[in-house]
Amino acid sequence: MENQEKQFRLNVTRRHFLTKAGLGFGSAALGSMLFKDQLFGADAQSSIPLGLAQYAPKAKRIIYLFQNGAPSQLETFDYKPLLNKMHGEELPASIRMGQRLTGMTANQEKFPLVGSSFGFSQHGKSGAWISELFPNIASIADDICIVKTMNTEAINHDPALTFFQTGAQQGNRPSMGAWMSYGLGSENSNLPSYTVLLSRGRGNGQGVYSKLWTNGFLDSVHQGVVFSSGDDPVLYLNNPEGHDKQSRRDMLDQLAKFNAEAFDNFGDPEINTRIKQYEMSYRMQSAVPELTDLSKESDNTIKMYGPDCLVPGTYAANCLLARKLSESGVRFVQLYHQGWDTHGNLVNDMRMQAEDVDRASAGLIKDLKQRGLLDETLVIWGGEFGRTNYCQGKIDGANYGRDHHPKCFSIWMAGGGIKPGTVYGETDEFGYNTIKDPVSVHDFHATVLHLMGINHEQLTYRHLGRRYRLTDVAGQVVNGIIA
């Protein structure tokens, strides 16, 4: 009888929870973070999160190296020698075709084309053209797929970033990582399923904002958790002064006793959930510092990422940390690296930015590969839009700048089901328009979800009378980049 009662309460908890959390599969999945043992441990329900997968997932986890501020495609992966030939000449109207411009260049009288000051050469079996700024990324050309024909609807940073991360330029929609957490849950019950790492380069920066890792209308358990380089790698993680592990343990034991009394009195299943949350927070207190301690990495590893990886808060350190988080089962690790907004002074800024990210980005791929993790980890590298093929303002000797350009830009992806050693899509000779295989942001999202085993049209959440998707009402899986 007692057993029956217990089972009953357990079931009510589950059901109560499912209702409350919005009734999706994902809410079931988030249970893996919330109270794995109680609800989703050994019983049949543990298959629920997997039930969402429409296809065999090719990737289990994502690391997204977001290059915030928008690196120029013309100095990275989209080689356009014509621009060097036509350097200083006016952008033909037949190429611009009335494309809208930002407020920064809309009133410009002339649109002089500028060629890249950096040399390009071909790499890997695909013969991908890669700028001399990225020798390390060039060395992994056979592992990556360069998409040259990304395009977006936004032409300013805030809406473009928001669009990339949430599928809409405006509105408080859930971010990609929140959708993943909702849909697939966490693989590690001691860590959040969605983490965010922030760094800033030496170039012209554009800030980030918490709405980029928001849970939107999903439960806040799906919010990205920022891991910082400060004393508290996760906010509020550390015990206060005068408190050690033992005194925390003692307090939790007392709390559990009192809370158990409350449960007997009120019969409210939330109380038991709360007891579990305190236990998990205690486990996080050990698990997180172990994870964020980079001091025990081998020399070989440090060499791959570069010596900066030992300096907390740098892009390199975040790449290394991303590998460790991912390896530990964090579903979605989102990095942001500021500094790519090269309206002026592009030559110098690009050089510094490339120095900061080239080695560590490639190092991450090599490291995942040598650990046998690349196959199941999808790595994405890219910004929120591209840059114009014409100069912002006047060309000043060897110096120039480029404004925002939404119609084509380059990103690369690797691992987790991506066809390695490929270049996808073609842009025109001016690096301005797409002539073959355009990839929209919605297509990109649909593809990423597909690689994670999710049909983007079926991962939905009903909010205020409507079913929302990451891909809104659009999106086609880009089969050409899938292995």
Binding site: G26, S210, Q254, E270, T460, R462, G465
Partner: protein, 779 residues
């Protein structure tokens, strides 16, 4: 024995159904239909609004509903004419033949096994359950009668039903609630203990816990109206307005920064002070609404009326260089339109921005007709880049002279004038045009100001062609939504769920009311009382329904797992702000000052700094000092791009846009905040030091701490546990004096000397434990 069967059924659904979307429908229906259908039955009399429309709306209207552009096969099921029409391909057949399902093409298409014929088509990922098909069949058999959507029919005061006098119904609310409980075989709980009731009603009305003095006074008061006296005392408190403001600030998306990118400072806080003042003055809701929507259009508007219109300027404003001005101006008008739709009407107007609404009778033209009310503001999309302005025009200046006379409720100490954004219409400034696909430069037909006719016709003789006319339309006794939406919101605040669970959506995709008659009774009562908000709250909190205890039994779980029938009072976690207010009050460090510029209390290092580009006034978080650290949670500075993490972790709104309901999650990060936030450690420390110096025995001290925080006396068992823990900690701190000293350093609040450090540290430890109890954070 019923229960395992039901649960099994639910789990079976989960496994069978492939898509998340379908899963959602399964469960939603499972919970919204009344007892009988849950078991797979069909009601004797099928009602269009309660049984049929939810199915048609959710599964059919997307392609056969109000959206003319997406309508398939020119067939619509949302109107009687559409549904009774002859089939195009075979005029001898009809979609629905009232009274004859077998002759109705609709039914045939639901039951066919032919995947090319079946509706909804497999590609939609939607389908109907067998039971739902049976409901449709019976509805057709019974005559297939259509009705206007329930929330679009103006409420009429229903007759109050008889309730069992033994259950002690105190007012009509109880009559409605108890009658329904009786139908589902449940009884209400007995009244909660006086202590529990006092904490609950205090947290609900003022958001602050009762002092020990209040607790003792209430316990000692044996008069029959002791509780009502307390309620009146609380409603008269100046902290009532603060508590009420929190919910309104979420709806109004109030924040202290502009919200995009580098996110500069704005000074909207005098508007927030007005909201507190309006609630404390018990302005009728009709006036509260009218001033916010159209204070500037009233004859000879006062400065106060002008200030109230700041409601419509709380939206985000960009300061990103290079944006296209018109794109953002349109964005602001859109935000106002959507916010007014959600906050006052609970209609998701935004769905009709790009196309006709797929579920509700709101066309794209209706959307832009609403949009037109907010489109006459002389404003720009981009006034300037970061720190260009703390209040973009149109704005008003508030001077020290104003504050010492007509605007005395504003807590302005600085002698500098403060600018606040307000509304203004410029006649002839622009024509409002429909925007194709909602895109700012795709202008189409010109539209006039109007509201969706399906709700209540916008009669130009009754209502002016401006926001003042809109306000009059809102509070027209024939408006079916305004009163219902507000009473539901108050109910939601008090019971944790609305009588309409989807407080922000009274449209066809919203849930049906659990107690439609009670909702209508309350709405009419509220309107006829002169929209008296305090009276409404008093009515609810003095009902027996509200005064029930929170204990639940497995019988109640079985019959009503969600407690939608209110057979016990729900245990609800306090909001982020109120948890903080409770602990600071209990510790005696709360600064009860009302209003003024928002404050910056302790916050982990780097939260602002890690996200900023370095530009602007708000690039660095400069923590306040002294008294400002101990203000109530609602005064916490909200920088939208990096909101206060402790609040956000506790499910507070990011204030990015109008938020109708906060989620209530239960996460490990919340545990970390409650255990390690320096603000709470400091509160525990000060309380320990002060208690340590009282001339009381150890037992009395522990009893006092417990009582201050939990608002009740500890029972014997709890006292024993407390004492045991206290002694254990005291011994430990005697052994490790340095740890005690370190522990007691918490916070900037002045250190209070105590005789015995180990005792004080142990008391602090006990406080910390008490702060973290589940019961502490529950109202």
């Amino acid at each position: 024995m019923m229960i395992p069967i039901q649960l099994k059924k639910a789990s079976k659904k989960k496994i069978l159904v492939v898509s998340a979307g379908l899963m959602l429908i399964g469960l939603t229906l499972y919970f919204i239909t009344s007892g009988k259908e849950e078991e797979g039955g069909v009601p004797d009399v099928v009602d269009f609004n309660f049984h049929v429309r939810p199915i048609l709306s959710d599964r059919c209207f997307k392609c056969h509903g109000p959206d003319a552009n997406k309508r398939q096969a020119n067939l619509r099921l949302d109107t009687e004419e559409g549904a009774y029409a002859a089939l195009k391909e075979d005029p001898s057949k009809h979609i629905i033949v009232p009274g004859d399902p077998m002759q109705s093409a609709l039914y045939a298409r639901l039951i066919t096994a032919d995947t090319a014929e079946v509706m909804p088509p497999p590609s939609s990922n939607l389908s109907l359950t067998k039971n739902e098909i049976e409901i449709i069949k019976k509805w057709i058999a019974q005559g297939a009668k259509y009705k206007k959507h329930w929330s679009f029919i103006a409420p009429v005061r229903p007759k109050v039903p008889e309730a069992d006098e033994d259950l002690n119904p105190r007012n009509p609310i109880d009559h409605f609630i108890f009658t329904t409980l009786d139908k589902v075989g449940l009884e209400p709980n007995a009244e909660a203990s006086k202590e529990a009731l006092l904490k609950r009603v205090s947290m609900d009305i003022t958001g602050l816990p009762p002092t020990i003095e209040q607790q003792e006074r209430f316990l000692a008061d044996k008069s029959p109206n002791a509780y009502e006296k307390i309620v009146d005392e609380l409603l008269a408190s100046k902290h009532y307005g603060e508590k009420m403001a929190i919910q309104w600030m979420d709806l109004a998306r109030y924040a202290d920064s502009h919200g995009y990118q580098d996110d500069g400072l704005r000074t909207m806080w005098p508007w927030r002070d007005w909201v507190i003042h309006a609630f404390n003055s018990n302005y009728p809701y009709s006036k509260f609404l009218t001033w916010q929507l159209a204070g500037d259009l009233l004859p000879n508007p006062s400065k106060e009326q002008l200030l109230a219109t700041g409601f419509n300027r709380n939206h985000k404003i960009t300061q990103e260089g290079g944006v296209i001005d018109e794109e953002y101006r349109i964005e602001y008008v859109t935000d106002r339109t959507n916010t007014v739709g959600k906050a006052f009407m609970a209609i998701t107007l935004e769905c009709a921005k790009c196309h006709d609404h797929k579920y509700d009778p709101v066309s794209q033209k209706d959307y832009y007709s609403m949009f037109a009310f907010f489109d006459k503001v002389p404003e720009k999309g981009l006034v300037g880049t970061i720190d260009a302005s703390f209040a973009d025009p149109p704005s008003m200046k508030i001077s020290t002279a104003d504050v010492s006379s007509i605007l005395a409720f504003i807590n302005k100490k600085d002698t500098m004038d403060v600018s606040v954004m307000v509304m203004k219409d410029s006649v002839g400034i622009r024509e409002t045009q429909l925007l194709r696909r909602g895109v700012y430069d795709q202008k189409a037909d010109t539209v006039q100001m109007a509201t969706p006719a399906s709700i209540l016709t916008y009669n130009p003789k009754k209502y002016e062609q401006n926001r003042l006319g809109l306000a009059k339309w809102m509070i027209d006794p024939q408006n079916p939504l305004t009163a219902r939406v507000y009473v539901n919101r108050i109910w939601h605040e008090l019971f944790g769920r609305g009588l309409v669970k989807t407080s922000g959506d009274f449209g066809m995709q919203g849930e049906l009311p659990s107690h439609p008659e009670l909702l209508d009774w309350l709405a009419v009562e509220f309107r006829e009382s002169g929209w008296d908000i305090k009276k409404l709250i008093r009515l609810i909190v003095t009902s027996s329904t509200y005064r029930q205890s929170a204990q639940r039994t497995s019988d109640k779980f079985q019959k009503d797992p969600d407690n939608k029938y209110y057979s016990f009072f729900p245990r609800l976690r306090l909001s982020a702000e109120l948890q903080r207010d409770l602990l600071l009050t209990a510790s005696g460090i709360l600064n009860p000052e009302i209003g003024g510029p928002s404050v910056k209390p302790y916050q982990p290092k780097g939260v602002w700094e890690a996200t900023t580009s370095g530009r602007g006034e708000l690039a660095k978080y400069i923590q306040d000092k002294g008294d400002k650290l101990y203000r109530r949670g609602l005064y916490n500075f909200i920088k939208r791009t990096a909101p206060p993490p402790a609040l956000l972790i506790m499910d507070a709104s990011t204030r990015d846009q109008c938020e109708v309901t906060r989620s209530r999650t239960n996460t490990p990060l919340q545990a970390l905040v409650l255990m390690n936030d320096p603000q709470l450690l400091e509160a525990a420390r000060v309380l320990a030091q002060r208690t340590s110096n009282l001339n009381l025995s150890e037992d009395q001290k522990l009893d006092r701490l417990f009582r201050l925080v939990l608002c009740r006396k500890a029972n014997e068992k709890e006292m024993k546990m407390l004492k045991g823990y206290y002694l254990q900690e005291k011994n430990k701190f005697i052994q490790q004096k340095d740890k005690a000293e370190g522990f007691l350093k918490a916070g900037e609040f002045e250190q209070i000397k105590t005789k015995n450090i180990a005792e004080t540290a142990a008391l602090m430890q006990v406080n910390q434990m008490i702060f973290n109890l589940d019961e502490t954070t529950v109202k």
